[in-house]
């Protein structure tokens, strides 16, 4: 048995973020793997304790640009829970819209990367072009293609006029067929199918033992979605089916994400219809008493949990979060054993790892 250090690093487009792996191989087969993290460690858990609650809304959004909105929205939920603030109904829908828009964009990006890794260049370009509809939507509505700056304590910082709501409706309409087409492509393209079916399998029992979350868990048959288990915001009034598959392979994870992206379009449609008129935030500068709270949400990569402890000032006493990707790295140890080293980038990307989230 020889130990080879394979580095998937900053220079490869396939992995936009630097993460290193030490892989033990028996010939060309993976026998063991160690994940070496910390390249993107910026000391954020320390930084947030030196910033006030307002600064942290912007800071936390930049934990990771793909999950981005989930961080400030969950953080604000924790603050609102401590302060007993009930955000306006309209704000609940606007938060959900922002979250679902990010979900679609994030899942499309991961799907594109997977096509790129499996040398399906035309599918890669197609996914990126479809994603551009979402990027333009974000820029028009929020002013930025990645970081939405949508949240504040007490609600949201943006609103939809009848005009922009109409624009959003049209954009979502434009997404439906392309998403269905991409789902068809990813599940029936013979080359993709061959590379992804039966590859990087995580059984249901292993998934439970590892405590994985998000699409990785749902692709292994675990029916857990925070939007249903611990509803927040508008989700207790929205209708959707949790995307669950049972094969637990790369293909199942691709399918879960593309189904969720399509479901997210429907969720946005529902929000646009159900959203009542009214204010979008509760109070300009609310009083935040001493207290503590837990807030959870379903980020694109899975369950995101925040713990906040306050002391009555506008600086947090203790702020801790755990990102979904953090729970999923361990499962790679099971998924990669026995697989060919050429499949490492594919299997790693199939868990849609967010390194900047993990390293924080």
């Amino acid at each position: 048995m020889s130990t080879k250090t394979i580095t998937l690093g900053p220079s490869q487009l396939a992995l936009e973020e630097p993460m290193y792996f030490r892989v033990e191989t028996e010939g060309e087969i993976v026998a063991g793997i160690d994940v070496m993290a910390g390249q993107v460690h910026r000391g954020m858990e320390h930084l947030v304790m030196k910033r006030n609650l307002y600064q942290n809304i912007t800071l936390l959004e930049r934990l990771c640009s793909l999950c981005s909105n989930s961080h400030p929205s969950t953080f604000c939920t924790a603050v609102e829970e401590i302060a007993g603030i009930r955000i306006p109904l309209r704000a609940e829908y606007l938060r959900a819209i922002a979250d679902e828009i990010k979900r679609i964009s994030s899942h499309l990006f991961n799907s594109a990367v997977i096509a790129h890794i499996t040398d399906r260049a035309s599918i890669f370009k197609q996914a990126m072009e479809v994603r551009e509809i979402m990027q333009n939507t974000k820029e028009s509505i929020y002013g930025n293609r990645m970081d939405l700056a949508a949240n504040c304590i007490g609600g949201v910082r943006y609103d939809l006029t009848p005009e922009s709501a109409g624009y959003l409706t049209k954009q979502m309409e434009r997404m439906k067929e392309p998403l269905d087409e991409l789902y068809r492509l990813y599940t029936t393209d013979p080359a993709l199918r061959e590379r992804s079916e039966g590859v990087g399998v995580l059984s249901r029992q292993n998934a439970v033992d590892c405590g994985v979350v998000g699409p990785v868990a749902r692709a292994s048959g675990i029916d857990y979605d925070v939007r249903k288990k611990s509803p927040y915001g508008a989700y207790d009034r929205l209708c959707f089916t949790t995307a669950v598959e049972t094969a637990g392979d790369v293909r199942a994870r691709i399918m879960v994400r593309l189904r969720e992206a399509r479901e997210a379009v429907s969720l946005i449609d529902q929000c646009l219809v159900a959203m009542p008129a009214g204010p979008v935030w509760a109070d300009a500068l609310p009083e935040i008493p001493a207290g503590e709270a837990i807030a959870k949400s379903e980020a694109p990569r899975g369950e995101l949990i925040y713990y906040l402890n306050t002391d009555g000032t506008d600086m947090p006493l203790r702020l801790k979060w755990r990102v979904p990707s953090f729970m999923n790295w361990d499962a790679l140890k099971i998924m990669l054993i026995g697989e060919h080293i050429a499949d490492i980038p594919l299997i790693v990307n199939s868990i849609d790892p967010c390194i900047s989230c993990t390293d924080r």
Binding site: G38, C210, K229, S230, P231, D236, R322, F326, D330
Partner: protein
């Protein structure tokens, strides 16, 4: 809901031998969070077993040096478990000398990274951890980073900003707004 909460309190008492008082909170959406404290730090391992028997999982671990006990060096660990959508937080306190806690890895695989994460930030020993290496912090950074840094936060945070802003002011000295 109430039955489930009673079961949890019972299971904790059974496994740890302590009378554990759990405070339950329900938010506006009906999502429950439970909060409790164990007297004995070592009790966290049997408590974790009780949670596992109830089909729960470890969600997150928060380590901190509460303001009130900073000068005495008493650290706290809050273990956050998920029980099918309900989050149960179990807190333990660690004495200033020999702050140690048993690893939960025999019960939850996912405790591995959670424990490695706080071990490099706080001076807490996790006994029985299968792989107590650094996780994110570069080797050049002193161990127990949060304990060393916080007293010196005034040193670490001002220098770079000051240097940059000195340049900004210097370069724009004669400028007015357009």
């Amino acid at each position: 809901m109430i039955d489930a909460h009673e079961n949890i309190a019972k299971a904790l008492k059974c496994s740890t031998g302590e009378e554990v008082a759990v405070t339950w909170r329900l938010d506006r959406k009906g999502v429950a969070t439970g909060w409790c404290r164990l007297r004995e730090a070592a009790g966290i391992l049997p408590a974790a077993r009780a949670v596992a028997d109830l089909k729960g999982r470890l969600s997150m671990v928060t380590a901190y040096l509460p303001e009130a006990t900073k000068h005495s060096g008493v650290r706290e660990l809050a273990y956050h478990f998920d029980l099918d959508g309900t989050t149960l937080t179990i807190r333990i306190q660690l004495p200033p000398e020999r702050a140690q806690v048993p690893s939960l890895t025999p019960v939850f695989r996912s405790a591995d990274w959670n424990e490695r994460e706080f071990m490099e930030l706080y001076d807490i020993k996790v006994t029985g951890h299968p792989d107590p290496r650094r996780l994110f912090l570069d080797e050049s950074i002193e161990p127990a980073a949060f304990e060393r840094l916080i007293p010196y936060s005034t040193f670490s945070n001002g220098a770079s900003s000051k240097a940059l802003w000195d340049r900004v002011f210097a370069d724009n000295d004669h400028k007015e707004s357009p």
